[in-house]
């Protein structure tokens, strides 16, 4: 029993080191993980699909896909998707939502912002080629807010794409073709939003008084 606990603690510490959470948070997240997976070792898409609160979310599919996307594991540019994820992968995805540490320097903040933007980028770039094309953008807009009609979504996607293109590649000849939004362009257009302080979940903050996650059964 002791051995098991020690092993688990070491496991947590290892995970903490990799993902950046504290062991306390990992324990909470592990509890939630077990809840979602029905006490099994891995979570499949069906598990996440069955969360009732998620049913109203217009981008539910993309969120679930993001968990199973290999690119979000921050390991060597692997592409593709997994069928099931274990605790470690779960935590890696969650680590994208950590808020910036209080005393972080400029490079750390930039790195955190880059990481979060990369996560967002991967969510849009569904075919994994490193570029968000107009087709992908349109698709994503269509699904996002269900009440927008096809034409309106297309129009808005076109507008957005045009904006990106004109901001990042302003001097294109009439015959040039703008392939799509690369990651650099993506960073450029969203640099005003300060992702590192907006894209986070409150309770995952290490410094503040931690509120327990997983307290609501859903």
């Amino acid at each position: 029993q002791q051995q098991q606990q020690q092993q688990q603690r070491r496991h947590y510490e290892e995970l903490a080191h990799k993902s950046g959470f504290s062991t306390e948070q990992i324990k909470n997240l592990h509890k939630r993980f077990r809840q979602l997976s029905g006490n099994k070792e891995t979570i499949s898409r069906a598990n996440l699909d069955s969360i009732p609160a998620l049913a109203n979310n217009p981008i539910k599919k993309q969120i679930i896909d993001a968990f199973f996307d290999k690119r979000n594991q921050r390991q060597d540019d692997e592409v593709g998707s997994l069928e099931e994820i274990g605790l470690e992968q779960f935590l890696m995805v969650m680590s994208h939502f950590r808020p910036p540490a209080h005393k972080s320097g400029e490079e750390e903040r930039q790195a955190a912002r880059r990481q979060k933007l990369r996560f967002l980028f991967n969510m849009h770039d569904t075919d994994g080629d490193g570029i968000i094309t107009l087709v992908e953008y349109r698709k994503e807009l269509l699904s996002k807010s269900g009440a927008i009609g096809h034409q309106a979504a297309k129009a808005i996607a076109d507008a957005a794409m045009l904006e990106v293109a004109s901001t990042n590649a302003p001097h294109m000849a009439p015959d040039d073709f703008y392939e799509g939004i690369t990651f650099e362009h993506f960073q450029q257009i969203l640099k005003g939003l300060e992702m590192e302080s907006r894209m986070h979940i409150r309770f995952l903050d290490v410094d503040t008084t931690t509120m327990r996650c997983g307290k609501a059964t859903s």
Partner: protein, 796 residues
């Protein structure tokens, strides 16, 4: 918040003659103002004389003796009050004008300081003239006429998102901070007053409770002063909303403390029960005020739903409902300021969806105008009241008050930030804390509250007033003047004037959904979860009730997008259609650059048109129909003329309907096919450049005339299922739909299919061809009719 200060003339002091003229005018007004009380003094005689005259006349009528008919008579009394009010308002406005004409002054000295000085001057003049200064800062006048416009302006244009995000912090500063200030200042003042056993002075008679009352009056940060100073320094949004929000929300605390201590000052002691009741009263005052405001806000929103036929009085509803909310809250001794803020903030999204564009502009400018005049008057009156007031100068009291105010503020802010930072993600740095502490200005509200004190209960009232005035002067002059250089010195982040782009909007919404989803996966009912729930409730129930017609179902993204389009269309009109608009980077990118997988056309074909309003389109149709021969000159000229047609929408539904009618019209036009005999313009021709420029990223909206291009038809009637994103399917479906809808003319569902290449029949080709020409001629005289073969569909 749009700047209320208007523009600053950069010291173009070339002709001093108009400047001198203005100063002369100002002087005349001043003299008139100060001499009028002379007239007022003598008017009783006039009145008497009038009465005497009347009697005399009555008598005389009996005797029927004739008096010469008075050709010109002077009677001041019966117009006195409105005349004096108008004179004050005129004076205030002329002062404002004058400041901006003086070259470097507005940059160094904030307007509030200058206005107080002017007030001092005017008060001095009046006193010199030996007249009695009218009690201008009468509390009734202040609280019922001067304060509401400023607060309504602030509440209506309150940036909701940053306010809500920082609500916890703001409340902490407002409630706990003000309480701390009040008790600290009051308590220490009492202590200081008691220590002087050798020379017993007036101060000894000062009890604890009046001291606490004084503390509570002086401790509240004043929204008018904060607005006046902060608007000029353009500080970043977070700090602005913190200080400003605090100044608004501390009204509840001030009201409760004031009434509490005032009630019991007579008695002399406050028991625990009273304390508890005070706490309860605080909640009642605050929440009650918000509730009253919200109710009136909803009423206003509901009323605005029905105003589509009487657009002219729409702004009136906004103003009257808000004012009534304020008065109703004051009736119950609730916090009127919070009621106003709640009313403005609640009604705004719904009212703006319902009212016309002109009403929106009217509301905005009226609010800005009233609040600007109010603020000016308040500061001038402060100056006048200083000169006039019966002062009781007491060195100890005044200096201790000033020092304590500063110290209390600093300690309060630092202490609270320490606690708050434990709960905040984006922590407040030392620089932020300094600005928050330094920005705690006191203003006219404190003075008016002091003015309201009853002299019988508070024999030292005049001493209080003196001290309040000194504190106000200190904060407004010293802190107000030095905050700008300090902000620059400390390199505090300034406000970013970034334009909100459509990409940011899309991704912000995406992020909201994403974070809500992650919270759901973690099972944590956080921040985003509740916000999402509120939004869904709002969309499902509230919007249906309060927004008229089709706009109620409009998703936020579409509303934003339409607003953006509108803004750019208006800019396009105002700049005459030629100049480069808002993008900083001149861009030659147009729609075709981003269309995927199309073999590059030899010539620029699908040039995107600038946004066409319905009236413009009508005119263009008319002109085309009547005159098929277009020269470049003609193009340019009617471009300019038609651009001057009013692009201001009134109703998107109508707009779409009109577009549809145009579609029908196009079908008729398709038979004409000898439009253009103009040679293709060289690539650098001004027309082409203008077309390129006009096909700005923002002004790219779809050509309504083309069948080969999908138009923006907001599909409001039947929501599309989000999962069926399959472009091929869509083509098939849309073709069927287009086929089915040949004769229909309903408002909502409308889809235009691009023609597929291999299914193009001759008619279709002609269709697309002529349409292309149609579109092209509006921006750019394109190639000849023969080069029409490579007609690519717009979508793959």
């Amino acid at each position: 918040m749009s700047p209320r200060r208007g523009f600053r003339h950069p010291g173009s002091f070339g002709s001093s003659l108009p400047e001198r003229g203005l100063l002369l005018l100002v002087l005349i007004v001043l003299l008139q103002g100060s001499l009028l009380p002379f007239g007022a003094a003598s008017s009783p005689d006039v009145g008497h004389r009038d009465e005497a005259d009347v009697h005399a006349e009555a008598e005389e009528k009996h005797n029927f003796t004739k008096k010469p008919f008075p050709v010109l008579s002077f009677e001041y009394k019966h117009i006195q009050v409105p005349f004096e009010i108008s004179l004050w308002v005129l004076l205030a406005s002329l002062m404002k004008l004058g400041f901006h004409l003086i070259p470097r002054l507005p940059g160094i000295v904030p307007e509030s300081c200058l206005l107080i000085l002017v007030g001092l001057l005017v008060g001095g003049l009046i006193k010199l003239a030996g007249q009695k200064v009218p009690p201008v800062l009468d509390s009734n006048l202040f609280f019922f006429c001067l304060l509401p416009p400023i607060i309504l302006d602030a509440g209506y244009f309150l940036p909701i998102r940053p306010f809500m995000e920082n609500l916890g912090t703001i409340l902490m500063f407002a409630v706990v901070g003000t309480l701390w200030n009040a008790f600290f200042i009051g308590g220490l003042l009492y202590a200081v007053c008691q220590i002087q056993p050798n020379n017993p002075s007036d101060l000894h008679s000062l009890e604890l409770l009046p001291c606490l009352l004084f503390g509570s009056i002086i401790s509240a940060v004043d929204p008018v002063a904060v607005l006046a100073v902060f608007e000029e320094i353009h500080i970043n949004e977070l700090l602005h909303i913190l200080v400003f929000g605090e100044s608004l929300l501390n009204d509840a605390v001030t009201v409760v403390l004031y009434h509490l201590f005032e009630e019991y000052s007579g008695v002399g002691s406050v028991t625990v029960i009273d304390g508890v009741l005070g706490v309860i009263s605080f909640f009642v005052v605050a929440l009650g005020g918000v509730l009253v405001g919200a109710i009136y806000g909803i009423l206003a929103a509901f009323t605005s739903r029905f105003t589509s036929h009487t657009r002219v009085i729409e702004p009136l509803f906004v103003f009257v409902y808000s004012y009534m909310a304020y008065l109703s809250a004051e009736m119950f001794h609730l916090s009127g300021i919070m009621a106003l803020i709640a009313c403005g903030a609640v009604m705004r999204p719904y009212v703006e969806a319902n009212i016309s564009h002109k009403s929106h502009t009217t509301i905005k400018y009226f609010l800005k105008m009233w609040s600007s005049v109010s603020e000016t008057l308040i500061f001038i009156f402060l100056g006048v009241a200083t000169v006039d007031g019966q002062h009781n100068w007491n060195w100890t009291f005044v200096t201790v008050t000033v020092v304590l105010c500063l110290v209390a503020r600093v300690i309060g802010v630092v202490g609270l930030t320490y606690v708050i930072n434990k709960f905040r993600i984006v922590k407040l740095t030392t620089k932020d804390q300094f600005i928050v502490a330094y920005g705690g200005l006191r203003g006219a509200i404190a003075f008016s509250l002091g003015f309201l004190l009853d002299k019988r209960h508070f024999p030292l009232r005049n001493m209080f007033l003196t001290a309040i005035i000194i504190v106000i002067f200190f904060t407004v002059f010293v802190q107000g003047m030095t905050i700008k250089p300090l902000v620059d010195l400390l390199a505090v982040k300034k406000k970013q004037e970034a334009k909100r782009s459509i990409n940011e909007e899309i991704h912000t919404q995406f992020l909201d959904h994403l974070l809500t989803g992650i919270e759901d996966i973690c099972g944590h009912y956080g921040h985003h979860h509740w916000k999402d729930k509120l939004n869904r409730f709002n969309k499902k129930y509230v919007k249906k009730c309060l927004i008229a017609g089709e706009r109620s179902k409009e998703p936020q993204l579409i509303a934003f997008y339409h607003k953006l389009e509108m803004k750019h269309a208006i800019e396009l009109v105002e700049s005459g259609g030629g100049a480069k608009l808002s993008s900083a980077i001149p861009s030659t990118v147009s729609m075709q650059n981003i269309q995927p997988k199309k073999p590059a056309p030899a010539k620029p074909e699908d040039r995107v048109l600038p946004k066409l309003s319905k009236s413009r389109e009508e005119e263009i149709r008319k002109i085309l129909r009547s005159n098929l021969q277009k020269t470049r000159q003609r193009l340019r000229s009617y471009n300019r003329h038609t651009l001057l047609a009013d692009p201001y929408e009134d109703n998107f539904g109508e707009f779409l309907l009109k577009k549809q009618k145009m579609m029908a019209l196009d079908k008729k036009i398709q038979d004409m096919n000898n439009y253009l005999t103009v040679p293709a313009a060289p690539p650098d021709s001004p027309t082409l450049c203008r077309a390129r420029l006009a096909s700005d990223p923002q002004a790219y909206s779809m050509k309504p005339a083309l069948d080969s291009v999908p138009t923006i038809q907001v599909d409001l009637a039947s929501p599309q299922s989000p999962d069926s994103v399959n472009i091929l399917d869509e083509f098939q479906r849309s073709e069927q739909a287009a086929a089915a809808e040949e004769g229909e003319d309903d408002g909502g569902l409308m889809m235009k299919a691009p023609t597929r290449p291999h299914e193009r029949c001759n008619a279709g080709e002609m269709d697309a061809g002529t349409r292309e020409k149609l579109s092209r001629c509006l921006s750019d005289p394109g190639p000849h009719a023969e080069d029409e073969d490579e007609d690519e569909p717009f979508l793959p």
